[in-house]
């Protein structure tokens, strides 16, 4: 576990061990706020920031925290970063902050963050932990944006609506309306839609993985059967 390569960490975070699609962690905010791209982006960025920060700190103190109390310590660290993130959003993107509401403080309970702190950061050097935090955060963010885009498009027929909440007035007319005005399909915006779209995303990912696996299997040489046998009675002369 101590030697993890950079590419492995990247691949893990973005694909093979994606916190949202594979580990299914942090589903509560994931499903709740991905009605539009801007919401998804806002929450995703906040989560990513918290993840990087908490991973770095956890990694820094990893030798100094006893096993028994590590979880409370991690939670306090995460909570601190969440509070920071909340204050930052309150300061710079107040409207978005209001839309996201309770889900920003709820980042604390996002298991993806605690999970990374426990499974990775508490065992790895600072640099690697930071990269892991970034990659996991990015993986999470990507899924959030995918979900947000799909749901926004399906549900209200727009893309990149209200981006000014995050990027200021310049983003006001970024909104795209591929289906024209008046389109709506509420279920995609409502929670069931989140589950459905998420399910399809996971299905697509699994289908891709399946193809990759088949290819890998085809390339792999056939194993020699029974090669690893030992004698249970070997110690008898």
């Amino acid at each position: 576990m101590s030697n993890v390569s950079l590419s492995e960490v990247t691949k893990n975070g973005l694909w093979t061990n994606n916190p949202a699609l594979v580990q299914l962690l942090g589903l509560c905010p994931l499903l709740a706020v991905t009605g539009t791209v801007v919401n998804a982006l806002g929450l995703g960025l906040a989560t990513m920031m918290v993840l990087i920060g908490s991973n770095i700190i956890v990694s820094l103190i990893r030798h100094h925290v006893s096993d028994a109390v590590r979880l409370p310590v991690f939670v306090i660290i995460i909570a601190t970063f969440v509070t920071c993130a909340e204050l930052v959003m309150k300061a710079f993107t107040y409207e978005l902050y209001q839309i996201l509401g309770i889900f920003i403080p709820l980042i604390v309970t996002n298991c993806a963050i605690l999970g990374r702190a426990e499974a990775f950061a508490s065992k790895q050097p600072v640099g690697m932990a930071a990269v892991d935090g970034f990659m996991m955060g990015l993986g999470f963010l990507m899924v959030l944006i995918c979900l947000g885009a799909l749901r926004e498009l399906l549900g209200q027929g727009t893309l990149l609506a209200d981006m000014q909440l995050l990027f200021g007035p310049t983003a006001e007319n970024w909104t795209l309306r591929p289906f024209g005005e008046g389109y709506s399909f509420l279920i995609a915006i409502l929670p069931p839609g989140a589950f459905l779209v998420m399910g399809f995303l996971m299905a697509i990912k699994n289908a891709i993985d399946w193809q990759i696996k088949l290819k890998a299997e085809a390339d792999k040489p056939a194993p020699i059967k029974g090669a690893k046998r030992i004698r249970t009675t070997g110690h008898i002369s």
């Binding site: 709506s184 509420l186 409502l190």
Partner: protein, 354 residues
Amino acid sequence: MAFKQVTSPHAHGAQNTAKVMQLVVWATIPGLIALTWHFGWGSLINVVLASITAVVSEALILKMRNRPVWFYLGDYSAVVTAVLLGLALPPLCPWWVVVVGTLFSVVIAKQLFGGLGYNPFNPAMVGYVVVLISFPVEMTTWVAPLALLPEGVAHPDFLESLKLVFFSASPMDGVTGATPLDSFKHAAGLTVEQIYQQDSLFSQAMFAGVGWEWVNLGFLAGGILLLCSRVFTWHGPVAMLVALALMSLIFWDSGSSQSPGSPLMHLLSGASMMGAFFILTDPVSSAVSHRGRLIYGALIGILVFIIRSWGNYPDAVAFAVLLANFTAPFIDNYTLPRTYGHTDRRKATERLED
């Protein structure tokens, strides 16, 4: 070929799944006739459109899943789902509402869970709820019953109905009206008697609401036919209707302004009868034992009344059935019948003592 290994029993009864499903379709005809008579051609168009969509989409999915298409289409289950959904949707709703609802029923609620027999939820009701919450405007626009249309106005004829369904997204004026359950929901402050007097929907009715009563009686007739041909047992439907009647009797409140309506009104409006005989009797998603079906039916009856009276939606059969579907495995778990030779009823999860 006379000498071969075949498992017993060799004899087989006359019943088969396709026949049962066909019977269910035929049994909806009295209800469909009543709907068409009182509300125009819309329901018939819904049913046909939904059936075509269902069969085509089921065939496609079966093909994708590498299943014998004709074998599984031959069980008529897709048609049953589509017919029930078509009957539940408002007449003359736009074609895409029907198509989206049917696709959700067949593709997501049924085939993605493994096809017939493996769907935990009633597919028709899943489709109905999806379109209900997705397209609230279209789904709450009901055609007024024939008897209540103003002088000189009639339901659109068949061709016009087709045009409305396929080319006009705008709700029709003149021929729309409230349903009895709507009337009760929106008539705050009036006593039942006042509502009955003021609203022609009730004042011209024989039992419960113009048109609606006959639709429900039609479904009741179809349901009794199915019951007599032993397609399902009486437990579920009777439990639901009794629970609904009891609930409305308890809260009848002698017809005060708080009253959510009389038992007769509740039994004969909305989708009560269709729900009791055609929806909750879907065997796949309901409880299995007799006691289980009693509980399951009663639960639906109670939920229907609660949501109708105090919920946001005027009718509630779809939501009640879906909620009860959730509980079906749980009910099964606690209602195993007592097996011959055993003194106690076992719970399904009970572990064997080693």
